[in-house]
Amino acid sequence: MADSTLPIGSAIDLTPPSESYGTWLEQVHSWVVTVDHKKIGLMYIGYAVVFLLVGGFEALLLRIQLAVPHNNFLPPEVFNRIFTMHGTTMVFLMGMPLIIGFANYLVPLMVGARDMAFPRMNAFSFWMTALGGLMLYYSFIGGVGLQGAGSAPDVTWWAYAPLTERAFSRGHSTDYWALSLIVSGFGTVGAAVNIIATTICMRCKGMTLFRMPLLVWLYLIVSGMILIVITPLTAAQIMLTIDRYLGGHFFDSQAGGVPVVWAHFFWIFGHPEVYVLVLPAFAIANEVIPVFSRKAIFGYPAMVAASAGIGLISLSVWAHHMFTVGMTSAQNAFFVLSTSLVGVPTGIKIFNWIATMWGGKIRFATAMLFCTAFLIQFLFAGLTGIMLSVAPWDWQLHNSYFVIAHFHYVLVGAIVFCFFGGFYYWFPKMTGKMLDERLGKWHFWLFLIGFHVCFDLMHIPGLLGMPRSIYTYEPGRGWDNWNMIVSIGGMIQGVATLIFAYNMVYSYFKGPDAGPDPWDAWTLEWATSSPPPEYNFASAPVVASRRPLWDLKHPEDPDSRYE
């Protein structure tokens, strides 16, 4: 698709990039000291991909252990550490950096700005996030407090009190866990402040709020959510650290503290966090689906309103994670209803995406394949979500593999799929090279098959009563074959992810040149060269509609005439 028909040669700086890149050390130095939003975005994304592989490897270790009953592959205490690290890694070291990396790269380009509003704070945010990841993984060697005698945290990623109190969680591994999340939380809040300021204050001339690409809108909403949902976690972690280091009693039941308070504080963060992760996935679908259906997005204002609605409703649903702690029926009813209500705006979105594809001239490039699979899988994930939102059903299935299957359906089936799609869509912009489509198809189909073998069937041992977080189980409970098949599905996904990693490296060196606009797209990032120069746009663009490049390519029938 490199043979673009983009008639905007004049808008691009055609000066060839300087050939000398300097020595290897100068290269590294330029990345360390950079304040360029694109380089920082790429560092976020690279960091996330590394931890995707690490967290995925941990998941495979867990699946090997669970593949057969009475397995001795991992000892119980190691199993606990690995699933704690898998959860923490995937949410905080993979998910958050990935969404922020894409925002860093795309938001300034899409609003026609030269950089984020605060470039140096941007670099600071990244390095704080990086420090958080390093601290968490350092616990593998320093967790007990002695150099070289380590143990990773084993308190699960939701870390219920009083398990995390000093009496029950000795050594320093829990401290590394808490501190690394505080530190990376600072980075995340800094990035959110930056995205908000960039979106509100740096838009190019003519780009009113309702001419912004939907991706920018969704990131604005996500950033607003980050401000109020990451901070409760930070506050709770500070309380935990006070308990552990200064002898406080926040969650110490012997001194009158109430461990359920931790659960509330954690899920006030934890549930909206899912939406913080999934809205950027929606954002990617919002960009990819119209371009590959050759139609403008259906129902732009409804999409914005639905996203804002999801953001607002998600703040009032957290205790559906806690139906089994014993709340009053009024509280149960409130959280059942508010949780079910999330289905309304998400339903609006699904219909809008289908309506965008309806009657379009669909091109199934790999990016579009991933986004199409996302539509179906997200629907399924939403349906099991509605099932679990009903308190009696949740009482039955709480802490079972049904819950694990449900949220992995969201996190992998929706978020990871969309971000894979996003990689295929924006990799040409970020590197100037096309990702290999043949390898991409292998990646997609293997991952799709692996995903469904693994997570469709994982619901069944859950329904049959298999609890989560167990390191092994007895044979003859009807779980054996299901677990084996689920583990095989996990392995297939692992192979597919390795193909993806290989594809990125291979295409970076051997891929065909992308040109500025390989997909014949409509948003501003495609109006500059690939990869864009440090200043993005040689002179500030001016826009008159939601699809500035459409206006440019079709001067006889511009969007601005209809909006």
Binding site: I238, L246, P548
Partner: protein, 200 residues
């Protein structure tokens, strides 16, 4: 550089394109985030009122810090006067009122120090004594740490102003700082109400 703009100028080209100042927007966003942190600590404080299993209890040891509160709240007023003076370009008036703001903030901080000194050495209340101590020191301490950060920034500005580096074109940046200071004062109203009125 063979570069030019994207030639997409129809209606918007001749209109003024003014967007908000990014410092103000970022500070507003930061204040939202900080408010969420304080909310969690305030909720924890309110929830744990009267749940301590051992003494001392708030009513036995806490005294109303009226003087402190008056100092801190009036510093919001003095910083506002200082800002107005800066916009008019009268640097002497600015430095005077800005210094007064720093002094009032420092008095508040000193008052908190004296209060904690009495609580720790006279009443034997530390952060690990009971739930009241844990929630009290963490909530008031969280606020005090924000006062310290604010005072450091205010003092840096005061040094710039006394050495003649500050001019009236900086008033936009100082507005961002004063927004933070007003927030710290506003939080104190909440903390005061929760700790010294509801919790006592």
């Amino acid at each position: 550089m063979s570069a030019s703009t994207i030639p997409l100028a129809h209606r918007a080209a001749n209109e003024d394109w003014v967007l908000p100042y990014h410092g103000t927007v970022a500070m507003a966003a930061l204040i939202v985030a900080e408010s969420a942190i304080f909310t969690i600590f305030v909720v924890a404080y309110l929830y744990y009122i009267g749940k301590s299993v051992s003494g001392p209890q708030p009513r036995q040891v806490l005294e109303l810090p009226i003087f402190n509160t008056v100092c801190l709240l009036s510093s919001s007023f003095t910083i506002w006067i200082a800002e107005r003076a800066l916009k008019k370009g009268s640097m002497g008036v600015f430095s005077l009122w800005w210094a007064l703001t720093v002094v009032l903030g420092a008095i508040f901080l000193g008052g908190t120090g004296l209060e904690w000194n009495k609580l720790i050495y006279h009443d034997g209340l530390t952060i690990s004594t009971n739930l009241f101590g844990t929630t009290f020191y963490s909530l008031v301490g969280l606020h005090a740490s924000h006062v310290i950060v604010g005072l450091v920034m205010l003092s840096i500005v005061l040094i710039f102003s006394l050495t003649g580096k500050l001019r009236s074109e900086h008033s936009k940046q100082l507005e961002v700082l004063s927004l933070y200071w007003h927030f710290v004062d506003g939080v104190w109203v909440v903390v005061f109400t929760v700790v010294y009125i509801i919790g006592r």
